[in-house]
Amino acid sequence: MSIQSVERYQMAQVFNRRTNKIVRLSIFVGIPLVLILLSSAWWYYTRSDWIRDVGPANAKVQPGGGFSHQLHVGGLKMDCRYCHTGVELSSSANIPPIETCMGCHSQVLSKSTKLEFIRSSYTEDVPVQWNLVHDVPKFVYFNHSIHVAKGVGCSTCHGNLATMPVVYKTQALYMSWCLNCHRNPEQFLRPQSEIYNPAWQPPADQIAQGLILKQQYNIRSKLQLTNCSICHR
């Protein structure tokens, strides 16, 4: 029997010759493409502003509409430390007690309906439960006092609060971001007089200025500042 005759008795091929091309294409192009798509999805997902609540679009809804830093800091020029009393002394900057609000608002806008939740919290002795905005994982022991003492201003991490009606994150607070400064702090250091200036902009010669400040502040070496034990215990 010749070869042709054998072919005649066989069933028609399920896949024709062109399919080989498709298979090759899908192996060499399709699978990598899917992998690339998946990994870039993962990349964007884990680094998205959404997952870490960064930017005004991801601002948290706060009780009573939230505290307007725009009004108090931008408009009234209140100092950060008026409310955040712990910032120079403690790991926590301290969310002010309701008593601090009432210090002014028992006189100012004392009938405002917008402030009803503050007044009832004060009179009924029930604390206001704010939604936490800036948070680091529980195994990270961040200390505010040492950062402000060593020339890291509020706005470096928290953004220009004077422009924010509701607080939102301007930084994702990744460890790589922390390390960026711990490795080369001169990029962000500012003089003590500017620490609490929410609108501070780095000067043109920031690196040169920063290196001088680094000396003045006695800031530890890159090796020391990147030890695990500096932030983790």
Binding site: L89, S90, Q129, W130, S229, I230, H232, R233
Partner: protein
């Protein structure tokens, strides 16, 4: 590495052993040695405790696995809740410290409690308080856990049903009125001036005090000697010769913290001094003090009395004739007496609480004849007055049986559990129409009461208490009572018809009346007293007394002697529900979660008893079953049982752990007695002891150094160095540790008596979980610091050595090079960091650690569900989860806090500014920590001394923790040679 063997000259090359099995090298022991975690594959043979452990673990494991299953694209939103009114001085994130005090057997220990936003998380000694001087012990360290114990009684009960405080006060006040002269109160001994005054103000009421470990004999002995109640205070820091007759003065009593410190100061060779005190201890079974002894004589408890007589006679105390002693005892006594005579005025003879009153009277006479009185021994008015002890309990029960008691108030005393067996408390309580019980737990006694009032813990209470020297210290609450508990003072006020007064009002009213000052002046003084923790000028004045010999010296008995001892961890058993105390390995035996019938090797062989055999002990017609444990150094023909176990209503942790040895105790034989019968049931019981865990494979001379003071002096005279070291080099490039802070630790083995204060302090500071008997049996204990016990010499009277071991922070750390994920790395300051989040749990680091100090979370040991336990945790330390390794990190959180404070102020950290938790707790100040780069720091100076050594030096790990050689000061007359 160098192949040269290390020169160990100058340190004795004696051979140590850790257990009798090791000494005899049994096959089972060899097999166990080969495994790091000895029983990983084996099943525990004790079904009951295994089951209860699983029950305990089950709930938290199930819950944690559920949490792990939750899927979310985003982290859950957290709340931040500020104060409405922030309390004065509170700065969130910074702890505050408040002076308060804790009553231990009625005597006050001044404390500083650490408070994180209103939660007390840890207590330590108050440096200004005479009884603590800043140190503490395991009992005090663990007390904070008791406050957060979820098994504490949380409500008032009337006949077992919940009731309100208003109901209770009404019922109690009217019952008290109806009872009139039939009102009786029984409490634990208390020195509280306000309580004493309040009870004195109750007309018709009689007050009894009972504590299972009370110092009856001491008090009665003083009465015999001086015809009046007297408090005796010893100044161990001024004594160069101490003879302890069955007295464990450095461990487990209200004075032991102070005495440990004072005694250790005479043993320390700092500042080039080359003199140290000499300690003689005669005791039946090795105690912590016994391990410190230069000469320890194992002797039956009943044979101490003739010994005391012999000492008295040899010193010429009038009216004492010397009994005949065995040759070896007589020699020991003669040598000790010669030393005492030579150190007249600078010596102390002290008898233990368990010795009969007549021995105490004799000892007073001995100290008088040695002219020690007024120098090393002083007398003051008694701090705790009124009838105390078993005589007091017996008198109460007699009154009840005579029908004289109409109402009984029981405060804290758990008499249904800890009364001697021949006083039937349960039966007696049935005869009292109204029984009111006040206590932290709904315990054995609460179950027999008509009313149970949930008590307030000392960290929740206002109160006052007097220390051993009479100093009054105030108790101030660190937190509002978690379950609205009440104090003894409040209940006494209710009896007096004052149902509304708070403890604070009662206390200030009392002190106003005492001080007689006007409001303003009083407030000022009050604030100062609260701040300092002590009330000024309240120390008892010393009194001049002449001792006389009195009382009947009991004849020493024959036959098998039964000896009762407080458990080294649980003491009388009132804190049996405290997991930290249950799990801390007991000194010498290293047993956890059990008590045993301790027996000497010879006696065990004679009776055909092996370790872990269940024995039936029968004494005066009462019997209990107890597992046997053979203890090296115990005298023959004795059985030692520890009190504090066998609770039936302690809580989830402490119920049915061990056996109840109170069931053997009789009013006449509170501490020891002869004629116990032993029957071996042949049944095996599993005990968990950590003694052979983490064996260091017989590298003796590299682990523990010991020498005598005489030898040291000789070496100094010849200009020899303590031990010559050969250079060992490493194949790894050396790291430059010459800059910045370099942390190091020095542990003085000469001061350590193995009291476990450091172990529990570390557990409290570093959020270390409790794992249970089954896990310990598998070698999975979690405590970051352990105390190794080594024995040397023969098994009848070995030398016993204690060595605290925690992570050594090796400069050439073997753990770091084997970690595949760099979860354990060095930092610039020489600390071996453990990065929990990187750890994947390979356990390679633990395998490669020559010191065996790494601890692995085999299960989710930490209870993350119980709310009250969460409150206890230190917020500055990460809580570890299942599957990660952990270990000591030199209290990194404390270093970081100090570094931040110093950097903020642009200064260096001062020497002594960073104190580790173990160092802070240590009563004998054996641990010193600091910056070794600062040559003027105390730790750097200690590391320069010739007596310094490091463990397993030959491995070239360069540990940052070094040790000071254990020194003894033997009398050549007894030791026979210059050892």
């Amino acid at each position: 590495m160098s192949k040269e063997s290390l020169d160990t000259q100058g340190t004795s090359g004696r051979s140590y052993w850790r257990s009798l099995e090791e000494l005899s090298q049994t096959a089972e022991f060899r097999a166990r040695l080969d495994r790091e975690f000895p029983r990983e594959a084996a099943e525990m043979r004790d079904p009951v405790s295994r089951r209860s452990f699983l029950k305990l673990m089950g709930a938290s494991m199930a819950l944690s696995s559920l949490v792990g299953c939750q899927f979310a694209l985003k982290q859950p939103q957290e709340k931040i809740v500020p104060y409405v009114r922030q309390p004065e001085q509170v700065i969130p994130g910074r702890p505050l410290y408040f002076a308060t005090s804790m009553a231990v057997q009625g005597y006050g220990i001044g404390l500083l409690a650490e408070s994180h936003e209103g939660r007390p998380t840890k207590v330590d000694g108050n440096p200004d308080h005479p009884a603590s001087l800043g140190s503490s012990d395991a009992w005090i360290q663990a007390s904070v856990l008791t406050m957060y114990d979820p098994d504490r009684s949380q409500q008032i009960l009337n006949a077992g049903k919940p009731a309100t405080w208003a109901d209770a006060t009404a019922a109690i006040a009217s019952a008290a009125q109806a009872a009139a002269d039939g009102l009786r109160i029984i409490s634990e001994p208390t020195s509280s001036p306000s309580v004493v005054a309040a009870i004195a103000g109750l007309s018709g009421a009689k007050w009894y005090q009972y504590d299972a470990l009370s110092n009856d004999n001491v008090a009665n002995g003083a009465t015999l000697a001086f015809d009046r109640a007297v408090n005796t205070i010893y100044a161990f820091d001024k004594a160069s010769v101490v003879v302890a007759l069955d007295s464990d003065f450095t461990h487990g009593s209200p004075t032991s913290i102070r005495y440990s410190r004072d005694f250790a100061s005479t043993r320390r060779l700092e500042n080039d001094s080359l003199s140290m005190s000499r300690l003689y201890v005669a005791e039946p079974s090795p105690s912590n003090t016994g391990t410190m002894a230069d000469h320890r004589l194992p002797i039956k408890a009943g044979d101490i009395a003739p010994m005391a007589q012999a000492i008295a006679a040899a010193l010429g105390v009038a009216g004492v004739t010397a009994p005949t002693l065995s040759e070896s005892v007589a020699k020991w006594v003669n040598v000790a007496v010669a030393d005492l005579k030579a150190a007249a005025g600078k010596s102390i003879v002290i008898a233990g609480e368990s010795q009969p009153a007549a021995v105490h009277a004799l000892v007073h006479a001995i100290n008088a004849s040695l002219t020690n009185v007024g120098k090393t021994v002083t007398y003051t008015e008694a701090v705790i007055s009124g009838p105390t002890g078993v005589a007091s309990l017996k008198a109460l029960v007699d009154e009840i049986n005579a029908g004289a008691v109409k109402m009984l108030v029981i405060a804290d005393a758990n008499i249904a559990y800890n009364a001697p067996a021949d006083i039937n408390v349960a039966e007696a309580l049935k005869k009292v129409p109204t029984v009111v019980h006040l206590g932290l737990y709904n315990d054995e006694t609460a179950a027999l009461a008509n009313w149970h009032i949930n008590g307030a813990h000392y960290l929740e209470s206002w109160g006052d208490v007097r220390a051993f020297d009479g100093t009054v210290s105030l108790q101030q609450p660190l937190i509002a009572p978690l379950y609205d508990g009440k104090t003894f003072l409040e209940v006494v006020a209710v009896l007096a018809g004052n149902a509304t007064a708070t403890a604070y009002e009662l206390l200030t009213t009392y002190w106003k009346s005492v001080q007689g000052t006007k409001d303003y002046a009083f407030d000022k003084q009050w604030q100062i007293s609260l701040h300092d923790g002590t009330v000024a000028q309240t120390t008892a004045a010393t009194i001049e007394l002449t001792a006389k010999v009195g009382g009947e010296i009991p004849a020493s008995g024959t036959g098998l002697e039964l000896i009762f001892r407080p458990d080294p961890s649980l003491r009388d058993g009132s804190a049996a529900n405290n997991g930290w105390l249950q799990e801390v390995p007991k000194p010498i035996t290293k047993l956890v979660w059990d008590n045993t019938a301790q027996i000497s090797l010879t006696t065990a062989q004679k009776l055909g008893v092996k370790n872990e055999d269940i024995l039936e002990l029968t004494y005066q017609g009462r019997s209990v079953k107890a597992p046997a444990y053979i203890v090296a150094g115990q005298v023959d023909d004795t059985i030692v049982v520890h009190l504090g176990f066998g609770r039936t209503q302690a809580g989830k942790v402490g119920t049915n752990v061990g056996f109840n040895s109170y069931a053997l105790r009789g009013t006449e034989t509170m501490w020891f007695g002869n004629g116990v019968e032993v029957k071996n049931t042949g049944v095996n019981y599993t005990l968990a002891s950590t003694q052979e865990h983490f064996n260091l494979e017989g590298r003796d001379e590299d682990i523990y150094h010991t020498t005598t003071i005489a030898k040291l002096i000789e070496e100094k005279a010849h200009g020899e160095k303590g031990h010559k070291k050969h250079e060992i080099f490493s194949l790894f490039p050396a790291y430059d540790y010459s800059k910045g802070y370099q942390w190091g630790m020095s542990i003085d083995l000469n001061a350590c008596n193995g009291c476990n204060a450091c172990v529990v302090a570390c557990q409290a500071e570093n959020n270390i979980p409790v794992v249970g008997k089954d896990q310990i049996w598998r070698g999975r204990e979690m405590q970051w610091i352990r105390i190794d016990t080594y024995f040397a010499g023969d098994s009848t009277n070995p030398s016993i050595y204690q060595q605290p071991i925690a992570c050594m922070q090796c400069e050439n750390a073997p753990c770091e090079i084997v970690c595949p994920v760099a979860a354990t790395v060095h930092d610039e300051e020489g600390i071996n960091n453990m990065v929990y989040n990187r750890c994947v749990g390979t356990k390679y680091c633990s395998n490669n650690c020559p010191y065996k100090v790494r601890r692995f979370n085999f299960f989710q040991y930490v209870d993350e569900e119980t709310p009250s336990l969460k409150l206890q945790r230190n917020p500055d330390v990460t809580v570890r989860v299942r599957g990660v390794m952990e270990k000591c990190n030199y209290c990194l959180q404390r270093i970081n806090e100090s570094r931040i404070d110093a950097d903020r102020e642009n200064r260096e950290i001062k020497d002594g500014e960073v104190i580790t938790a173990c160092q802070q707790a240590c009563p004998s100040q054996a641990i010193v920590f600091g910056n070794i780069n600062d040559k003027s720091s105390r730790v750097a100076k200690l590391k320069e001394l010739d007596t310094k050594f490091t463990v397993l030096d030959s491995l070239n790990t360069k540990p940052r923790t070094s040790y000071m050689t254990k020194l003894t000061n033997p009398n050549i007359e007894l030791s026979g040679k210059m050892e």
